[in-house]
């Protein structure tokens, strides 16, 4: 038996109760897996890895020489989310993105939340991601964050907490789609028996949303995906999504601004572009408006955007709500704009900018995770319980020098899901990133990216640091 000696080691396990008995959602799957002949699971794991490599489902690791592509490690045991769990998650995600969108619109326009002193103005002004260029601007249909990939973690109490909102260029959705494709081939029989909600129509819905954003008067709008190019770590995803949606994948050099519109350069001359799904940071998108040294963007595109002749998805300036200090205020933001209590809680967060919080953080560095306010991908983080005294002192200095730039959170004992180790199951920590599209209505894809820390005991799930992924099954409501 794969899980005879399985030990949850006191963590919340997505497959098993504390007493070792299977949870309801996992029970059908476990029963089917037990029916496979010995060695079969391992054989299928290997075949799946070979398949992913052949398909070229790879990512690029920064700072290495040639041969920098690796496959994103994949474990074939899926994460399972039961229908009623999902229902609450979905409502929580919709509520959150709805409120965040109103927040962004407000701070660049009426600034009501500042006037009502619910949110401190100083924090806004000092955020690296605030774009004064967007003041007074309202994007098409009033929507700013069209695509978000919220990072959720599940604590020892079994509660899902929001860790990050990722409102700029959340990546990983291509892995969700590819993982599902591959796993269907790995477990065709089990797929037939389980009631799993499909994720395959994501590209279709994405395209529909993008078309909905087209400037008024654009009949059968031309939609493109703007990539920084093949050296970007997520290039595979850009290319994959463009292909799945049947739209052009363009680089900055393929676009040009002429007479107040954006065009792409084709073998038959210039062709007008209406909607751009851009996977380039604000900073790089227009050397005339932002970083002058950017070679990736399109000079003059910001003016076209502000005159309403092209739509950018996500809107410029949404990164403000990714600032981790602003994140700390999201529960207040939700209450302010919706009058409701937040359905999904934040991980408790100490804002070093606030004196009382800072004092607490400095006194408890060995038990907290300290994060810079504006980094992503797990860079620049200190994990207190694992850091040496020297590193802790270093962070103490950093916090005192620039308190605005740091927050701290208690370590969350991430929930675990079994992975296949040889012929047995072993528990590993996971997080979860579902994807939300905000167009004519709000759609949460029933599934998402489950990242798993493959190293025993590790809490770091980032692909750049030894993380892998799993397919995520959201079960249909059978009642």
């Amino acid at each position: 038996m794969y899980y005879k000696d399985y030990d949850t080691e006191g963590f919340f396990d997505e497959y098993f109760h504390a007493d070792g008995s299977p949870r309801e959602g996992a029970s059908i799957l476990l029963k089917r897996l037990e029916q496979l002949p010995g060695g079969e699971l391992l054989r299928r794991q290997k075949a799946t890895e070979a398949r992913l490599f052949q398909m070229g489902v790879t990512f690029t690791v920064y700072g290495e020489e040639e041969g920098t592509e690796r496959i994103f490690p994949f474990d074939i045991i899926p994460r399972v989310i039961e229908a009623r769990e999902w229902e609450a998650l979905e409502r929580g995600l919709k509520q959150r993105i709805y409120a965040l969108n109103l927040f962004i619109d407000d701070i660049y326009n009426d600034k009501k939340i500042l006037k009502d002193r619910v949110f401190p103005e100083e924090l806004l002004k000092t955020s690296k991601c605030y774009r004064p260029q967007c003041e007074g601007f309202r994007p098409p249909r009033g929507i700013w964050c069209h695509i978000s990939g919220t990072d959720l973690v599940r604590g020892g109490d079994g509660v899902y907490y929001v860790l990050e909102d990722n409102l700029r260029c959340p990546s990983g959705v291509s892995y969700v789609l590819e993982n599902r494709e591959v796993l269907k081939r790995t477990f065709p029989k089990i797929f037939e028996d389980s009631k799993i909600r499909p994720v395959d129509d994501y590209p279709y819905r994405l395209r529909e949303m993008l078309q909905y954003m087209a400037p008024d008067g654009a009949h059968s709008p031309t939609v493109v995906l703007l990539t920084p190019g093949i050296y970007n770590s997520a290039y595979f995803e850009h290319s994959y999504l463009a292909q799945q949606m049947g739209i052009e994948l363009v680089e900055g050099g393929d676009l040009a601004v002429t007479d107040g519109y954006v065009y792409m350069k084709t073998t038959k001359g210039l062709q007008k572009v209406d909607v751009i799904y851009r996977r380039i940071d604000d900073d790089f998108i227009d050397p005339l408006a932002f970083r002058e040294d950017s070679l990736l963007g399109v000079p003059g595109i910001m003016d076209v955007y502000k005159s309403g002749h092209v739509a950018l998805v996500n809107a410029i300036g949404t990164g403000i709500a990714d600032d981790k200090i602003i994140y700390a205020y999201v529960p207040e933001i939700i209450k302010y704009y919706t009058g409701e209590e937040p359905i999904l809680p934040n991980v408790p967060t100490y804002v070093c900018w606030e004196e009382l919080d800072r004092k607490y953080v400095l006194e408890n560095l060995e038990s907290l995770v300290v994060k810079p306010a504006n980094e992503s991908g797990g860079y620049g983080i200190m994990i207190g319980p694992k850091a040496s005294a020297r590193v802790r002192e270093e962070f103490r200095g950093k916090i005192l020098e620039d308190p605005r730039n740091y927050i701290a959170q208690p370590t969350v004992s991430l929930s675990r899901v079994p992975i296949l180790v040889g012929e047995r199951f072993e528990g590993r920590h996971v997080d979860f990133r579902p994807y939300t599209l905000y167009g004519e209505d709000i759609y949460v894809m029933p599934g998402g990216l489950t990242r798993v820390a493959l190293k025993k005991g590790s809490l770091v799930v980032n692909s750049s640091q030894g993380g892998g992924s799993k397919d995520t099954w959201v079960l249909r409501d059978l009642s």
Binding site: Q54, P170, G229, Y231, Q243, L296, S376
Partner: protein, 326 residues
């Protein structure tokens, strides 16, 4: 379609054809060696035909041996035209147009690249070179077959075919030159069994021996050159390549056959006419090598005007990641 994408497809296809033809050059040389009693100067002559003698001397010194030449032409990453380098370029170009080509093509490119890269480490190419270069040809054929049976016959396919055929025409002309460079025919050898074997080896390297036999009874230098240069039906013959490249060019632009609306069409048309009305005995009288040299120059001109006509709007990708994804 995007100029940049057209450019990538065209070059992806050219580089793939180039990789295959390097294998053919080496193969013809290996064949010729078997029947000769000395290999004096022969390996250096091979490098000359590829046009990379200068880089070779920088990399490997003055003396060209079997080992150094094989390694230089096959695995040397500093040689931009080695099989491994050209396959790397195929893959880089393919990566930038993944959403345009079929996933089957992409998988074959990957498989091919890894095969050659891994062979560089295992030393298998030096041990059984015939098998290795045969496999290179087969993988390239497999790619061409997959491309032919999985791509829409749209603009992208025509750019791919045009790139492949222009490269092939150039390389077939150089393949004929291998014989010229290596074996300046000594008067006493002409018409002897040795000479015939050598011409047969040349045909074989162009995968042309079987089709040649169906058309000609005997192997004579004139008819071999006639076949590889001026045949209208053999797919590696230079005239065939030019004819079909021209068809693709006109499919892309929509210009009626026999007319031209841009420099690429004008030069391609002129080359077509020149080859159509050429006579093999005139060519040999004027000097085959000079004729081929001139042809290569004209073909380069066609390549340049294709670039100016279709790709000039595009610019190269900057080599930076462009900020972190979340």
């Amino acid at each position: 379609m995007l100029s940049r994408v057209a450019n990538s497809i065209y070059w992806m296809s050219r580089y793939m054809e180039r990789a295959e033809n390097v294998a053919r050059f080496i193969e013809v040389n290996l064949h010729l060696m078997l029947d000769m009693h000395t290999d004096e100067g022969q390996w250096e002559a091979l490098v000359s035909t590829t046009g990379d003698l200068e880089i070779f001397r920088e990399r490997c010194g003055e003396e060209a041996t079997r080992e150094t030449v094989l390694d230089f032409l096959t695995f040397d990453r500093e040689n931009p035209n080695s099989i491994l380098s050209t396959l790397t370029m195929v893959r880089e170009n393919a990566r930038s147009i993944r959403e345009i080509i079929s996933s089957e093509m992409w998988e074959q490119i990957n498989k091919f690249y890894y095969f050659v890269r891994d062979s560089a480490l295992s030393g298998v190419a030096a041990e059984t070179p015939q098998d290795f270069y045969q496999r290179v040809k087969t993988e390239s054929h497999l790619y061409a077959g997959i491309a032919d049976s999985t791509m829409n016959r749209g603009e992208d396919w025509h750019f791919a075919r045009m790139g492949r055929l222009i490269e092939r025409a150039d390389k077939t002309s150089r393949l004929i030159d291998v014989k010229y460079f290596i074996l300046l025919p000594k008067p006493e050898d002409v018409g002897t069994p040795i000479d015939n074997i050598q011409w047969a080896a040349l045909l074989k390297s162009a995968s042309a021996l079987d089709m040649y036999r169906r058309k000609y009874e005997q192997i004579t230098p004139e008819s071999v050159v006639q076949f590889l240069l001026l045949d209208r039906h053999f797919p590696r013959a230079i005239l065939y390549c030019v004819l079909m490249a021209e068809v693709s060019l006109h499919s892309i632009t929509g210009t009626p056959a026999g007319m031209f609306r841009n420099e690429a069409e004008r030069r391609m048309g002129r080359l077509h006419a020149e080859l159509t009305y050429a006579r093999i005995d005139d060519i040999i009288k004027r000097g085959l090598h000079e004729y081929l040299d001139n042809f290569q120059g004209e073909l380069n001109g066609v390549g340049d005007s294709i670039k100016d006509t279709f790709f000039a709007l595009s610019s190269a990708s900057p080599n930076t990641p462009g900020g972190m994804e979340e």
